[in-house]
Structure formats: structure tokens, C-alpha cells
Symmetry: C2
Subunit: 251 residues, 2 copies
């Protein structure tokens, strides 16, 4: 049986990145798309708790079914498992995200939120992102790496609670680096642009500061040096290394 | 100088949980509240990227300043650092959340999203949650533990990238357990309730299934046995244990 692959994203079901990823995945298996009807960038692992969600079939052809959903990427994956999928998928991929999800961006990303939810459902899951926010970004250099990483994941599986955060820089690529999440933070994050009535309003903006630019084992280093970065991420947030020390606290 | 304490939540600036937490923290230091103007439950680490946000002063008295913000809990913490705080706070606390943020709920919670953002800014940060969704929940049993855990955190600090996820069950409490994040998943997550026109719409609902109910070192075990659970969480999502093995993949 051909692999069964579920796809979602946070840029919306019609974004070029997910259309490109869908065509690639159809080379590997039967594809089920369940993605937000419009942009959900920066939605993290948000779930919709205060209103109902809806979904509808967009397209059903040989080897491909596409649904849009009014919810977040995490809602999409949950909904797929509860209402849409024919069987447990062999692989879940999200993206291709228009923009980097490296370093701390992994926690803000709706695309990675979808990846985490796939992982939480026990299926090998990968988020793919290109470091280019442009709507007409060129995903072509990234394509062979996406196929190879997906094939390796289908073949090897992933440990329980582990999923992959894969990012690529723009242009020609030198290869793949398995990396760790780089330390850093967004700085000067808000820009005040008055509204049409002259009232203050604040746009999220700013720049990312890399706190360890010389470290060669991070995702940011890989991206800044022309490599695809692959960070295995774990959904158990417990700081296991600090657990024992904390037990000595006087509580 | 008295400690300077920043507070946020995801239930909204006027929720009983944050008002209770604010009164407690005023026993320990000078308090700055920056919280969403209304409910933001399940917002995870979502950030507002597609529209500007606004904020306004609600109250300024001796030792207490309160702002509301139109954004998410993560936006609130970012905004506080960029626009509102007088100096770097000594402690950031979020909550008291109306409802559990134990086990996998840690990744969906807007309250924990605020905690993570505090941690990302290098300040010791704690999320407090009570396993009771009721608006008029009784936080009183939890109060001495909140004070003690906050005092210990002010005294000891926390390692880089580590923050605390603190949950309490309802009613009388037996003490504190330092615990790890329990494995488990939400099941049967959507409930179809037709709208006024008879059209399908789906509400997030379901129940949490604990995958390791016998393990006594988890947050769920602590909560089910009358203890306050304290899980140290780490913001580096890298699956360090899998990094080396993954380098043997053929990519």
C-alpha cells in the first residue's frame, strides 16, 4: 500500500508553499490535505475553544483529497484525526512555511504547531520552512531535500514524542546539518504606526538576535552557511536535568 | 528594593484568577499587570502578526499598575518588555489559570505561553493553574503554595531557559510534588452541534487520556492524589538524546 500522508500549514490552504509540498508528497504516497482556509501565521499550538469550527471538501481526485478548515493548524490536525482521515497516516508534513521557523521561532510557529500535534498523535511528523517570506518564494532548491528527509523518516520512523523542524535558506544548498535549536531572542519587537485617526497602535516587528553566532552546531549557523537545518524536537518539555536539583527546594 | 513582579494570564485581565494572584503578589513586591482585555484560552505561544495591537492603563496605585492589551498572553509579555516595564522584573507569574495546564495541555495553554515568553526574556517565570474551570473557583487552598513557590523562585532563581508549570487540584492540598510532564492525549475531540440553520459545526471537547496512570513521578499523578505539581519546563525543544543517532541518517 502506498504511504498515506497528511499535510497542513499555517499560511493557508491555497498558499504556494503547501501546494508545492502537496505535489512533492504525491510522489511518495496518497495525500490528504487539511489546512486553514486563510493565514494563521504565528498561531503556535493554539486551539479554538471559544467558538465552533467548520471544514469543507475542496478537491478529491486520484491520490489527493483537500479540505479547508476555519481553525488553527493544530485544530486541523485534531479534526483530521477525529473526522476526516481514512486510517492513521504514515507521515505528517506541514509547510512549506513562508519564512523561517528556526531557533525560538519554533514555539511561535503555527506550522510547527501542526507538526507537534501530529507528533502528539504518534505519527512521524515534519515541519518544512523556507527562510523567505515572499508569496512567490522559489522552493525548487529545497525540493530534493524535502523528498529525501521525508523518505528517510518514512523508512526509519522517529522516537516517541520526537518530530522534525526542517528549515532551508534561500537559493542553492550545500547539504543537510542535523542541528540543535539556537539560543536567541527577538528584539525591539513593536513598531508604533498610528491608525487613520492618529491613535497609537503597535505592530509586531523587530529583529532576531542570535545569542551564540559562533556555535556551529545550531540551526541558525546551518542556515547562515547555506545548509538545510534539521532539528529533532521533543514534545516533553520537562527540564529533566533540573528535576533532581529542584527537589531540594523548600516547598 | 522590593521585588518587581510582572503578571499576565489567558483568561483576561478581569478574571478572578489573575485578581487573586495579583493580591498575593502584592505581598511579595511591586506588581505590574499586563494581560489580555478578554479571554485568550488555548492561545499557546501565539503572536499577533496580521494586525496591530493596542494597550491601555486601567489602574495605577501604590505598588500596583494594571494594563489591558488586545493581544495574546505572549504579546502581553513582549509588549511589557518593549513599552511598559520600568526595569527588568525579578519574577514573572501567569494565571491563576481557570483549568489544568498539566501534561500535554502545557503546549496549548496561553497562560503557559506567557510563562514561556517570560522565560525567553531571561526572567524566572512561573505559570499557576487550578484544575477548576469555574469562574468562581476557590483559589484559597492554593494561596500558601503560590506564595512559597514564588518566594523560593525569587530566592534561588531558575536555570537559563527553564520555567515552572505549577498546577493544583481542587480543595485541600497535601503538599508539593516536583514532577515530570505526563504522557497522554485528548481523545474524541470534536462534538458536532448544528448551528441555528442546521449546518454542521464542530466544538473542541473530548477527554484527556493518561497514557501512564501508574507512574508516580508525573504531574497528573500528583494532581490526582491531592498534591500541587511543579514541572520545570525547558524552552530548548531539541531532542538532544536523538541528535547523535539522527546524524547517521542518509540525507
Amino acid at each position: 500500500m502506498r504511504p498515506y500522508i497528511l499535510i497542513s500549514n499555517d499560511d493557508g490552504v491555497d498558499a504556494p508553499g503547501i501546494l508545492f509540498l502537496t505535489r512533492l508528497m504525491m510522489q511518495l504516497g496518497d495525500v490528504q490535505v487539511v489546512a486553514p482556509e486563510g493565514p494563521r501565521s504565528g498561531q503556535s499550538s493554539a486551539i479554538t475553544t471559544d467558538m465552533p469550527i467548520r471544514y469543507r471538501l475542496l478537491e478529491k481526485t486520484e491520490g489527493l483529497t483537500r479540505y479547508s478548515c476555519t481553525g488553527t493548524p493544530t485544530d486541523c490536525i485534531k479534526l483530521a484525526f477525529d473526522k476526516i482521515l481514512d486510517r492513521t497516516p504514515d507521515l505528517i508534513v506541514t509547510g512549506i512555511n513562508h519564512g523561517s521557523n528556526a531557533a525560538i521561532n519554533v514555539i511561535y510557529s503555527g506550522t510547527m504547531g501542526g507538526t507537534f500535534e501530529g507528533c502528539e498523535h504518534g505519527v512521524p511528523s515534519i515541519g518544512f520552512s523556507l527562510c523567505d517570506h515572499a508569496y512567490d518564494a522559489d522552493f525548487s532548491y529545497f525540493a530534493p531535500y524535502i523528498l529525501k528527509i521525508s523518505e528517510e523518516t518514512l523508512k526509519n520512523g522517529l522516537p516517541e514524542n520526537v518530530c522534525l523542524n526542517v528549515n532551508a535558506p534561500i537559493g542553492k544548498l550545500k547539504g543537510v546539518r542535523v542541528a540543535r535549536q539556537c539560543k536567541g531572542r527577538w528584539m525591539k519587537e513593536f513598531e508604533m504606526i498610528p491608525d487613520a485617526h492618529g491613535r497609537e497602535q503597535h505592530w509586531l516587528a523587530g529583529y532576531f538576535e542570535n545569542f551564540e553566532p559562533a556555535a556551529e552546531d545550531t540551526d541558525e549557523w546551518a542556515l547562515n552557511n547555506g545548509y538545510v537545518s534539521v532539528v529533532p524536537c521533543v514534545l516533553d518539555l520537562t527540564a529533566h536535568g533540573f528535576l533532581k536539583e529542584m527537589k531540594s527546594w523548600n516547598m
